[in-house]
Symmetry: C2
């Protein structure tokens, strides 16, 4: 095992391989993926699906001169294995190791970073137009899954391609799944093409043709394969209306056929789309059996695919279970996801309320405006969208929901540092992008039970509300049988104290408590406050503490710039309080991937950092006391 793979340093190394060797290499790559990811976790299914596609692309094109743009780019592991990163492949998604997505700073072979869906066509078109302006000769190849076409940006790009360049290769990697099974008209349309009998026939005969001539000289192969490729031409009205010449559907695991097709496409003087049919999880039965699970996951058994039994319930699960309850007692409650029923746990909601469940595809903007439309008719839509993906729907949030003061609830999963996925998935900006918008109520729960209360509070509130909760598990607090409504804009005093007031937002409340314990050990009395509401902020409580304490400390799992601590500064400023405020949160830089605890320590999101910053004020206070005594 690994005989061929271990010879490869750069893509040029595979160009002398025969088709048979490439097929062996594909097998070796699959084994490497299955074994490595069983330890590191990662996007196994998508990468098993694109082994041959990636090999064929690197066989025909030459990166870094030619530019590959992968949509989302969670399917770039094979590309990483082939582009000088094989030796470090076991560090993928590990602290200090390779990123799980394409990253421009990681390799010159990574033309474009991604992490959010639907961007590949636009970025690739930009590169193609740049090439045309500069008189370059390089090729630009965008690889996008079928799910990318549920996203509006892909269409905005499609609408521009044929006007702006004559050379662009689009590869539609069609596995009928993104993370969950795709929804909507486009998915149905692609399925119709794929299952068309005539297409199937053409496809098979082309494959046979290539098989027969595959062993002959290169000249022969090219000529025959061009014929094969032309034979595969199946006019797709849909893409052709956008001015792209359509080729396919093609078996995305037939490496010889792919190579010959790319050879043909490389010579076209017009924008083209290749429709390749692939199988997500190919070569690993557990991944074929459980597509959703193996889209992206943690460590597993490389033989059986088994993962460790789930422990404590995640915030996502508590969210979904609570929403099931709310929708049962309130007929106006509906749930909306943008292609993340698994990630948001709304797949637990669906069987209970199938008619009140809406998966709209990777279409965050539509999701929010659709929700606003429902809200105008008395419904109470809960949009479950990760904090980082809600950035996509920022304008609908402002313009459709908040401006019209409609009661849409934003359930922002992955609020805070997301960990292994890295900068593209951290949810570190939602307070700063949302706080300036009038009418919104922004809440952050301290634990699972409070999440349930906040969802209930949002349901009762007649206006836009957002609830932000972290990835994974919380403290494990038991959830009450029925949530209670929280008073809007009221914080919770966890313990009183009169020297320091510590506000610990959400997941960082334990840090606030630990800081208070430490202070107590040193003889300082500290209050611990669970703010609950970023907006509206509990000014009354803040004022009562500001009037009597020496300093205030804020903890937030968010950037400091424009964050929760900044809201505290503004409130104190407006109420004319002058006292030291120590703000603990993320600095003004993008944070790499890694373990949450390690990254927090590295960037000073810690009790130690707070103690250090607080020290001068403690001394002063101690000094005053000594004088007073």
């Amino acid at each position: 095992m690994g005989n061929l793979l271990d010879k490869i340093q750069f893509p040029a190394d595979i160009k002398k391989f025969s088709i048979a060797e490439l097929e062996t290499l594909a097998q070796e790559i699959r084994e490497r993926l299955i074994l490595t990811l069983s330890k590191t976790g990662g996007h196994l299914g998508p990468n098993l699906g694109v082994v041959e596609l990636t090999l064929a692309m690197h066989y025909i094109f030459d990166t870094p001169a030619d530019r590959f743009v992968f949509d989302v780019s969670h399917q770039a592991y094979v590309h990483k294995l082939l582009t000088g990163r094989r030796d470090r492949f076991d560090t993928i998604r590990q602290p200090g190791g390779l990123n799980g997505f394409m990253l421009r700073t990681e390799s010159e072979h990574d033309s474009y970073g991604a992490g959010h869906a639907g961007t590949a066509l636009s970025a690739a078109l930009g590169m193609a137009v740049a090439r045309d302006l500069a008189g370059g000769k390089e090729h630009v190849i965008a690889l996008a899954g079928d799910a990318a076409f549920t996203n509006g940006i892909s269409f905005e790009a499609l609408n521009n391609i044929s006007d702006q360049t004559r050379r662009l290769i689009l590869v539609l990697n069609d596995n009928e799944w993104s993370i969950d099974r795709n929804v909507g008209a486009i998915a149905r349309y692609l399925h119709k093409i794929v299952t068309n009998e005539h297409v199937t026939h053409l496809h098979e005969s082309a494959a046979r043709l290539l098989e027969r001539f595959g062993g002959k000289t290169a000249v022969n192969v090219v000529r025959r394969a061009e014929e094969a490729a032309k034979g595969l031409l199946w006019p797709s009205v849909f893409f052709e209306e956008f001015g792209l010449t359509y080729y396919g559907p093609l078996d995305g695991h037939n490496i010889g056929l792919l190579i010959e097709t790319f050879k043909f496409l490389k010579q076209q003087d017009k924008p083209v789309i290749l429709h390749a049919i692939t199988q997500k999880g190919r070569g690993f039965q557990p991944a074929l059996d459980k597509q959703k699970k193996f889209h992206g996951l943690g460590p597993y058994d490389p033989e059986t695919g088994d993962t460790k039994p789930a422990g404590q319930r995640t915030y996502s699960e508590v969210f979904a279970e609570t929403l099931v309850k709310l929708a049962t007692e309130n007929e106006k409650v509906v749930a909306i996801t943008a292609a993340m029923p698994n990630g948001t746990a709304l797949d637990l909601f669906r069987p209970h309320h199938p008619k009140k469940y809406f998966d709209v595809g990777i279409a965050e903007e539509h999701a929010v405006i659709f929700a606003a439309g429902m809200a105008t008719r008395g419904y109470k839509p809960f949009c479950a969208i990760y904090s980082t993906f809600l950035q996509r729907a920022f304008d609908p949030l402002v313009h459709d929901v908040c401006l019209q003061n409609l009661p849409v609830v934003f359930c922002m999963d992955r609020g805070g540092l997301s960990g292994d996925d890295g900068a593209t998935h951290h949810g570190l900006f939602d307070i700063s992008y949302m706080r300036g918008i009038p009418n919104i109520t922004h809440m952050v729960p301290k634990d699972e039970d409070e999440l349930a209360d906040m969802l209930y509070t949002a349901m009762l509130h007649d206006g836009p509300a957002a609830v932000r909760y972290p990835r994974g598990t919380g403290p494990g607090t038991a959830v009450k049988s029925h949530p209670v409504a929280l008073p809007i804009g009221k914080a919770e005093v966890i313990r009183d104290g009169d020297e320091i007031a510590i506000l610990g937002l959400g997941a960082l409340l334990p840090m606030a408590e630990e800081l208070a314990d430490r202070l107590l050990e040193q003889g300082h009395s500290a209050a611990v406050i669970n703010p609950r509401f970023v907006k509206p902020l509990d000014r009354e409580l803040l004022a009562s503490y500001a009037a009597r304490v020496t300093a205030i400390v804020t903890f937030e799992d968010h950037v400091l710039m424009g964050g929760f601590g900044s809201a505290v500064l503004e409130a104190l400023n407006e109420m004319n309080f002058d006292l030291p405020v120590i703000r603990i949160g993320w600095p003004d830089r993008f944070i790499e991937h890694g373990k949450v605890e390690q990254l927090r320590a590295r960037y000073g999101i810690s009790v130690e950092a707070a103690m250090e910053k607080l020290a001068p004020y403690l001394k002063r206070r101690t000094a005053k006391r000594l004088v007073a005594r």
Copy 2:
């Protein structure tokens, strides 16, 4: 004139009119529009184009029970005239008067507010699904221009419609123009349908048919017209692939035909799209001759369409002229607009650098990712997008540009209160949504010449940069023959002083100067600072003043929450300064339309407000001085 129109209080009043009377009414409405808007200004062209469409919709459907959703809704003036707002129509876009867009708080006939394009299908689908869930019978009709289909959200909605409802009526108001002539594949596709000879023939014969039977009894008309409508059926593969049954193209000014077609469509048990061809500016020759000018404009001569000669150059014009210069000397400079060449003044750039000019349609997300793609290849894209519309591209700004630290320049026109257009067009949030994002440089010029310098600075800067400038004209400062580079993150001291430091951001610098004058009159010495950079903030200068003044005042044409003043608070906090900061800016609420000066006065964006807030600190200082003497 006005005989029929003045009889109409509510839509029910037109339902007894004959076709001939409706045609007269259409004429009266056109006259009213031309005359009223000649005084108030407004979106004349689009409204002249939808007179018959709006009449026919109100003739067949019953608002407010039935729901009309107008995309952008700048074409809702006729709807406003028919729905209880005729008496106040001359107040449109005037302070305290009718809003220029649909507004839920203005009338129960306004189902959904808008102002940004591409939202109508999503909102309408939300309403249709809500109706289906609630078992309602009402109709939902979305009216969208062809330009809405250059926007991705429309496609996200299209992709969901046929899965989610069986009853939704889409009206495609096709005038081949939005604000400028439309771009891209969809526009070409629609044009192809419209110019198809067979279609033209069908269309003409249907019109003749209706004309012939128009005078007969209602029963006859319905039957014949249904036949006519069916005869018009022209299968549009494109829309039908999305599961919508397509009817059209239809003469959007033939009111009899429209009425009979809506009657037919009302009975369909499937989502339908009606493709109506209209003429923007119909009935007013100047508006037909100059489509762009009459899309939306200020007062004009109702006979000739003449407007007052343009005075001083606008910020937009200075931007475009500067960019022409920059692109001439730097081959890597390119300009991108999202369907606003006129509004952003990039139409002045185009003739100079046609190959470096890109209009991508109403596709802000694509525009920014396309720019990012070009930037990876060494280009320097200037994206000219209004502050409020850049909200659309917030995720691309974060995820594609800033995260990858690519040198894309955001030229944010209409930064600050926009005035007549109202809340949908004010650019009051860009500091708060942008400041938390690492890597971005955010600049605000004090005048036209500094705008040129900032664009030049942005061109030289190797990273993302945003320049925010207001609508309309500035102080009229002459622009140097060649811009100079400003040191990044350095503010400009306009005048020194040692009691108060006043920071006046951009357009509000004159307020800072006026405040300083007033203070001086009272014997207080005030420094006036032009901050230039919101990010990075000039901390050094801030520290030097914080160390010696009694108080700091900030002025910004932006919401206070998360705004420039908040950035000052954060910096002072981090540098451990404790001194009063008076922040002047917009409060935490959406601001209505009106005259900028009036609204500023109303909401305390004024020298008076600053004086009042500053008073307590001045007294203290005065008292101290007295003691010191």
